[in-house]
């Protein structure tokens, strides 16, 4: 059936429900574009023939046109839903994506991520007074100024706002300003201990 390959792209996204992004399927996108090129050329030919006086070609033109529209919708939905996912990644992973995740983005998507990053950073700098406001923090109302944390991984040295340097060693415990370490908790480097 027409537009079947384009539908496969959409199905790829449907299957990746756990928030992972499948590798950008360059081959299949190219195949879809090729199908569209062939359909388009065939339609142009039939339209020229109709202008020249041949009749009865309209049905075919209509079918191919619908297939072109369908392919376009699937391709755009593929790109759009990926971008939505990539946008979400900025809020979940932070401004730097893990290498394995980066591999699955095409070049334009990497560029998009970079620009989104910059846009968000500029916006956060421009609000909330001189120091800016980090919107990715305190997603839920904070309860305390300081939190107790345990290191889940060796992360090396960490300089606190008051200038002290502490070593984040696996299984070591620390008492830190919530605003300083919330990102590290979100990224799975520290664990928040609640009593």
């Amino acid at each position: 059936m027409l537009a079947e390959k384009a539908l496969e792209l959409v199905r790829e996204l449907e299957r990746s429900i756990d928030g992972s992004l499948p590798p950008y399927n360059e081959d299949r996108v190219r195949q879809v574009l090729e199908e569209m090129r062939v359909l388009y050329e065939q339609n142009q030919k039939d339209v020229s023939a109709t202008v020249a006086g041949e009749s009865g070609l309209f049905s075919g033109v209509q079918v191919r046109h619908a297939a072109l529209e369908r392919n376009k919708r699937c391709l755009l939905a593929y790109l759009y839903n990926r971008i939505e996912q990539i946008k979400k990644m900025r809020w979940e992973f932070g401004s730097v994506l893990p290498t394995e995740v980066k591999y699955n983005l095409c070049e334009q998507e990497m560029q998009w991520f970079g620009r989104y990053n910059k846009l968000l950073a500029n916006y956060m700098m421009s609000i909330g007074g001189s120091g800016g406001l980090d919107l990715t923090q305190d997603m839920k109302p904070p309860k305390t100024l300081y939190v107790e944390v345990r290191c889940l991984a060796n992360h090396g040295e960490f300089e606190t706002q008051d200038g002290n340097v502490i070593v984040l060693k696996k299984n070591s415990q620390h008492f830190l300003l919530r605003s300083e370490c919330e990102h590290l908790i979100r990224q799975g480097i520290l664990e928040h201990i609640v009593h």
Binding site: A66, E69, R70, R73, K140, P141
Partner: protein
């Protein structure tokens, strides 16, 4: 909304505490609090009450409604009534939760309170589900539900709006008018 945000709103409710210290009036964005005199009861926002309690700087007076007889009465009333009855406080669930967690020693019969409030919650949620079902099955276009609290609404919000969206589409089909379509 996340329940944590609902709780945040509930933390603005005033609670009576008996401070174990004396201190001048403090000026906060949400309003002035104090002055504190050791031993003299004073109303403070719940968040501050919990904070002081955690540092053992006060005793908390349970709200008036947090009382065995009163809650048992409410429970009976809720069972007898077809409609939702008015709760003694918009944030009864959140306040109970926080006080029982951080000040159980200040609440007489804490365990019984926990059970009574939970019973009330369960009764009301069952009633809410029946109301939703009745509404969905009827051909009514609107319904009026009084006295539901924010936390109760919040728990069914997504489900309810999603249901009504779907029902709206299916009902629009009945009019015979063909809906706008992409293809």
């Amino acid at each position: 909304m996340d329940p944590a945000e609902v709780e945040f709103l509930a933390e603005k409710e005033l609670i009576t505490v008996v401070p174990k210290f004396s201190f001048d009036r403090i000026y906060l964005i949400g309003g002035d609090i104090g002055p504190f005199s050791a031993g003299l009861p004073i109303d403070v926002p719940l968040w501050l009450a919990v904070n002081l309690k955690q540092r053992q700087k006060c005793r908390i007076r349970p709200p008036e409604w947090m009382d065995r007889e009163k809650l048992q009465g409410k429970k009976q009333e809720e069972m007898d009534s077809k409609f939702f009855i008015e709760m003694p406080n918009q944030h009864y669930m959140e306040i109970t939760q926080l006080l029982l967690k951080y000040a159980p020693d200040d609440i007489p019969h804490a365990d019984e309170m926990r059970t009574l409030i939970k019973d009330l919650w369960d009764l009301r949620m069952a009633k809410l589900r029946s109301s939703i079902d009745t509404f969905v099955r009827s051909d009514a276009t609107h319904a009026k539900l009084n006295h539901l609290t924010l936390m109760e609404l919040n728990t069914v919000r997504l489900f309810l709006t999603n249901s009504l969206d779907q029902l709206y589409v299916l009902r629009s089909n009945l009019s015979g008018k063909v809906q706008a379509t992409q293809e």
